[in-house]
Amino acid sequence: MEEKIREANSKFMEIIKNAKPVLIDIATAIDVIPNYKKNLILHAGPPIKWEDMSGPLKGAVVGGLIYEGLASDFLSAEEIINEGKIEFDSCHHYNSVGPMAGVITASMPVFVVKNESYDNYAYCTLNEGLGKVLRYGAYDEEVIEKLEWMKTILAPVLKEALDLSGKIELKAILAQMLQMGDEGHNRNKAGTSLFIREMAPFIVKTKFNDEEKSDVLAFINSNDHFFLNISMPICKCTLDPASNIKYSTLVYAMARNGTEFGIRVSGLGERWFTAPAEVIDGLFFSAYTKEDANPDIGDSVICETLGIGGFSMAAALPIVKFVGGTTSDALDYSRDMYEITEGESDVYKIPVLDFKGIPTGIDIKKVIETGILPIINTGIAHKEPGIGQVGAGLVRPPMECFEDALVAFVEETCKKED
């Protein structure tokens, strides 16, 4: 059995190593995401029913319905939901990922990222910026207007620029970011800068007018998290082909929906192993406290699943200013992660650790054996919809997810042996 597991895990690592993520397009969700439907709303995390959704997620759903023109306010949104007219599902089930509430609706523009080694795709919306935004559950007029602008100006400009530039190689950008002080989840400043640098000449060449082009450039410039919505699908399309390897104990997805935290293990197929999401204890802005915080939410933990984000904190020491702790802590957090992973990346390196490759391939066995849980770097949302981010901090998945997965794994493999 041990050998079978070892071989399966090697296969997993080989697939990760082979990934070739590229940004090939920006398109409308319903046009490009396979099996998408007009009344489908995708959300972050494992599957969840409307009744169980936390504040920010409900707010984002309402905002999505208003944006699609299917509702005018919270009450009318709730009505059509209760009439069963809206279908909900996890972004992950549609090759997608979304930060925080992670809501995707039919007419939203999405990044199209392709893994050229396995011809699989991952999709993600464009990042709205900071403050009162849909992903934190805000849904007032301002939010909807911005979403409209993103649909009518931002996305088309970027799409045309992308058509002119040709596909963008993303592996190189991510590798560079990590050596410039980003970790790809909570710090994306370098990534955003590299992206805007690469796109700018082509944005200028598009047929839009100067005002529009300038607005696009200014928008990206003002949003340090812009690249997060590209980091995430890079990780997703790298990990997806490694799903479903019989006997592998490695994790290919982690995600939270604001209520539950879920993980998926390669040797256990599509199953989610869930447990109540934790409330993050971190650094809060102005007067906010832990009492105001929503439980952990978002698909952005796909970053840690690959080994960037919290796992690469040693590459982004300044982050301790936002999440607390010392730079020494940040180094230790990264070092600990090597105890629970199968191997190291051959291309994404951390300079301060002597250019050690990032820890990749979370092994549920090792997590349980060592008691060390993956470390996640995340933003904190207010538990009421529409208020926005109230802080940032470190959080861990519940051990229960890993324990349940181990029980299931042993059951399945022993069953197969008989």
């Binding site: 059995m1 041990e2 054996e369 008691g371 324990e403 042993v410």
Partner: protein, 564 residues
Amino acid sequence: MNVYSKVIKNTYYDSVVLMLISKEIKEIEDIENVIVAMGTDMNINLAKSLSIYTEELEDISSNDLFISFSSKEDVFNKVIDKVDELLNKKAKTANDTYHHKTLLTEIKNNPSSNLVFISVAGEYAYEQAKIAIDNNKNVMMFSDNVSVEHERKLKELAVSKGLLMMGPDCGTCIINNKPLGFSNSVRKGPIGIIGSSGTGIQEVSVLIDYLGSGVSQVIGTGGRDMKKEIGGLTTIQSLKLLLEDKKTEVIVIISKKPDEEVIKKVLALVKLTSKKILVSFIDSSPELVESYNVKYTSSLEEAAYVAVSYIDKNIFYEELEYDIKGLINDESKRHNNNQNNLLGLFVGGTLATEADRIIRKDNVLYSNVYKSEYFVNKLEKNKNIILDLGDDEFTNGKAHPMIDPSFRTSLIKSIDESVMVLIFDIVLGYGSHEDPVSELLPSLKEVMLRFINNDSFLTVITSICGSETDYQDYLSSKERLEDIGVIVLRSNRQVADLANRLLNVKKHKNLDKIFNSDLSVISLGIDTFYNEMKDSDINVSKVNWRPTANGNKKMRDLLAKLKE
């Protein structure tokens, strides 16, 4: 016009043949008249009437053949040569180079045949063997991939008719001292061999020959015969035959992993015989065998020695030491620290199994010999590995490595630096490659040189499963290998044994190392110990350890399950 004639005494050919030859001779330039005929009165008169009678024909009788002709030039030699040629040609076609297209027709036209040797694809083999047995022929079946049910049916039928069904998966026999399949040129003698493993039979037979004795009959039974599903049908039948055979005084039974209940059935037959019976059963109980008063030997080499010792009182078996200590000393000095492993590349399945058993006693070994465990099908670093390259997974679409050495050659080239000793087998004899050593030499040289250039040394040990009368030249094969530094031993057991000793010496060396280096400790546990060691100036570091799974017993049990 010249007239020539020649008489060939006491030579008969029928008139039709001779007339046709005459016709052909007439086509030769310058010939006017010609007769090629028997010396009957009628034919002599004919010659006279054609004016081609000469005095050579005076004493001719009707049992003599004569050639007479008239020609302008002297073409006498030409004519005689041509007649000769034509006479011989006719003789050949009379024997027929046409081959029948079905077994049944061939059998009908070949009544003196007594053995059908079948090597067609497995799915067709049963049908053909059935035809053979139904028509009272013995069968040797080289084909494998025949089902157990079919094998059983064929063997039961053959036994009921007093015929031998040797196979499926039977590659080696020597019947009436004629080699069949993969077998060696072995002296005639009083030792009979019954075997369900091909190279096992070969190894024993060539060692018997080496020791000066020989074989009476060598009967292959097919690989599965000694399994309980087949119940030793052919082994039992062969044993009965050899017990009665006047030319057989000693009987050796060879098998890989025979089932216990079959061993009992087989050995029950030998209760009342005065003949000497011994076995070479890899992986079975010596006590069980000896309870039947049968000698149990623990290697193919021992089996050969014991068998011959019953015939020749001057031969006895001791596990030969040769200058093993000196050899081990010399070789082990040259290995570097990273070389700790053994690689075995075998073309003979039984030889691989025998080596596996010897190495596995003292070492962790990965091989494809025992299918029930982790299946190795590639070379991996830092592991002891033995591969039977004749196994199905390696021969898909390729010729067997005994015939085509190229796959083994390519594996040899890719040996990695963690390997300390390479062992393999060379099989000579009928059916094998015409010069296996010549195929292996370049890649052996290449890899041995690569090791030397990297400050290490690859010990290479082999045995040649062949007799000194095999056509591939045993002595030259041995010499050419020794010339490049390969150690050539007499038997497979000796090879595996030497390799095992080298592994043990290395392990001992590794153990010994700690006493010869600076102590460098990792402390895992109570801090007091760590601190004390630090204070004593010991080079020590510590691990920030936490109890496994935080002490959760359920989780620990699950984790342990996965480690099996």
